[in-house]
């Protein structure tokens, strides 16, 4: 299972790779990273079929996570990848907008990795 993680903080890559160390080692997960909404779209254009789950930050310079979300949900239909939004501002407005745009889940920073792992396991089993 391939997960695309979108965040403008580059250290998120090290963090995820360490947090999912075992899963990566056991080939349960493949992690890909994009540092902006634009980069994420480019990645999806090239390797659409691979990303089943997209984890995206909302607050990024340039294209915001919400723009990316609406873009993905409009463009990719067969079937659209799951998109979970992550934000430092866990406010209602962002939550409602994300849900309206078709987000599959909404997570707030700091990320609870155990919870995230559970969620990923459930996707696996579906």
């Amino acid at each position: 299972m391939r997960i695309l993680i979108v965040d403008d903080e580059r250290d998120i890559q090290t963090l995820f790779e360490q947090r999912f160390r075992k899963e990566i080692k056991n080939n349960e997960l493949v992690l890909a990273f994009a540092y902006s909404g634009e980069e994420a779209l480019k990645y999806l254009d090239e390797k659409e079929q691979h990303a089943i789950l997209i984890l995206s930050d909302i607050n990024m310079p340039g294209m915001s996570g919400l723009d990316l979300l609406s873009n993905i949900k409009q463009k990719y239909h067969r079937p659209p990848p799951l998109v979970m939004m992550i934000t430092a501002y866990g406010d209602e407005e962002n939550y409602n907008t994300a849900m309206k745009l078709g987000a599959d889940d909404f997570l707030t920073k700091p990320l609870d990795f155990n919870q995230l792992k559970e969620k990923i396991k459930n996707i696996h089993h579906d």
Binding site: T14, L15, Q18, D67, A88, Y89, E93, L111
Partner: protein, 435 residues
């Protein structure tokens, strides 16, 4: 029949020469009539002379005050003779021209003369205004002018004091305004700061948690005897520790920057990394605006000159200038996006910070692609209290303060703007390390 005896006539002659000399402004002649010990008492508060020199000075002043000759008409004269002494009393009408106006005064004088050696000399003069002429508050002309002068001096003194007070109040108000402007910009910063601190703290917490897990795994691998894997895990722990330290320092520098920003500017010059400073305030500004307005989004870019030397500046002051210029830039691109016409759908709000090392000076440009500043207000934007923002949103002091801060650093703040294309503010600062 002669009115006076021969001796009386001699006295009258001296007396009249004395008076007419005053009318003709001939001070030397006047004092040739006086004894060396002459004294004088006049009507005014300080018309008193204890000796000839004082009396002469008083007369010279009087003559200088009234540049035109007087006219003296004797109304009556009375003389009393004693042994080698005479008293002459007279009333004269004293006409003088002041600023083209004729003023006349009725004056009474009593003059005491002594026969000294071979001539009559005046030893004492007493001037007065006849009782029937002295209505309350009425003074002789010179006295009136003196009093008027004193009143005017008092008024000038009072006004000066009032002005001094107003000036002090204005200065106090100004420094209050500067402080509230600082606090307002700190308020704008708070949300940005919260975001900027939360991110590194998340990393510190996350990497610490990962390391706890990794240490457990490391032990397992060592028990199993898988040295290669143990080394790999140990390497990861080391990397994570580095990340923890790095993000801890990042949060630290943000808090320090915030403290510096709120501190009043008794700041000292210190060698400052301009690129880092610009980057820090760009992020604070962006996240601050994002936190305030969720719909706000803009692209921001930096084009930093890698050869930028450290420049001696007061970092919190120049930081305030940068914050102000960057906030303005984001504000105008957001305004433009809100009011897009159908033709401009491809508009992408963007703010760019460019630094340039020019040898003896450096340049920091804050460039936006907003609507530009209309020509007619371009020369007003640095004036205090000038703002285009709605009432209550801007103090109108941001650019004015920025201008003053840059000037105080020996630099320049300039603006270039093209209608419909955007605005660039350019800060130029001297690099004093290069002579």
């Amino acid at each position: 029949m002669p009115k006076y005896t021969e001796q009386e006539q001699e006295v009258i002659n001296v007396h009249n020469v004395f008076w007419e000399a005053l009318a003709n402004r001939d001070i030397d002649l006047r004092f040739s009539c006086c004894s060396e010990n002459v004294t004088f008492i006049g009507t005014g508060l300080h018309e008193k002379a204890a000796n000839k020199a004082e009396y002469r000075i008083m007369n010279e002043k009087g003559v200088n005050q009234f540049p035109e000759p007087f006219q003296i008409d004797f109304i009556w004269t009375n003389i009393s003779m004693f042994h080698k002494q005479a008293v002459v009393t007279c009333e004269v009408i004293w006409k003088q021209s002041i600023n083209g106006k004729i003023s006349s005064e009725l004056v009474r004088s009593t003059t005491l003369l002594n026969y000294e050696e071979d001539a009559w000399k005046i030893v004492h003069v007493h001037g007065s205004v006849p009782d029937y002429r002295l209505a309350e508050g009425e003074y002789m002309t010179t006295e009136k002018i003196l009093l008027r002068n004193r009143e005017l001096e008092q008024k000038v003194f009072e006004r000066t004091q009032e002005l001094g007070k107003s000036l002090a109040e204005l200065k106090a108000t100004q420094s209050q305004l500067i402080q509230s402007e600082k606090m307002a910009s700190l308020g704008e910063l708070t949300a940005g700061i919260a975001h900027e601190i939360q991110n590194p703290l998340n990393f510190v917490n996350n990497f610490s948690e990962v390391n706890v897990e990794l240490v457990a795994e490391l032990k397992l691998e060592l028990e199993k005897g898988d040295i290669a894997e143990a080394i790999a895990i140990a390497d990861d722990i080391a990397i994570n520790e580095g990340k923890i330290l790095q993000h801890g320092k990042r949060a630290d520098s943000i808090v320090k920057g915030m403290l510096q920003h709120s501190r009043s500017s008794n700041g000292i010059n210190e060698p400052t990394d301009i690129n880092a400073l610009a980057d820090e305030y760009l992020r604070l500004s962006y996240h601050g605006l994002r936190a305030k307005d969720k719909s706000f989004n803009a692209d921001f870019k930096t084009e930093f000159d890698a050869s930028m030397p450290k420049i001696n500046i007061i970092p919190q002051d120049i930081g305030r200038v940068l914050l102000n210029l960057i906030n303005n830039a984001f504000y105008v691109v957001a305004e433009r996006q809100k009011n897009l016409s159908g033709l401009e759908e491809t508009y992408k709000p963007s703010v760019t910070i460019i630094t340039k090392n020019l040898g003896d000076r450096i340049e920091i440009s804050v460039m936006d692609n907003g609507n530009g500043i209309p020509e007619e207000i371009r020369n007003k934007i640095f004036q205090p209290f000038f703002t285009t923002k709605p009432t209550g949103e801007g103090t109108g002091l941001g650019l004015s303060l920025s201008y003053d801060i840059v000037k105080a650093h020996g630099g320049e703040l300039k603006v270039e703007s093209l209608s419909g294309e955007g605005t660039t503010f350019v800060i130029t600062l001297p690099n004093l390390n290069i002579r």
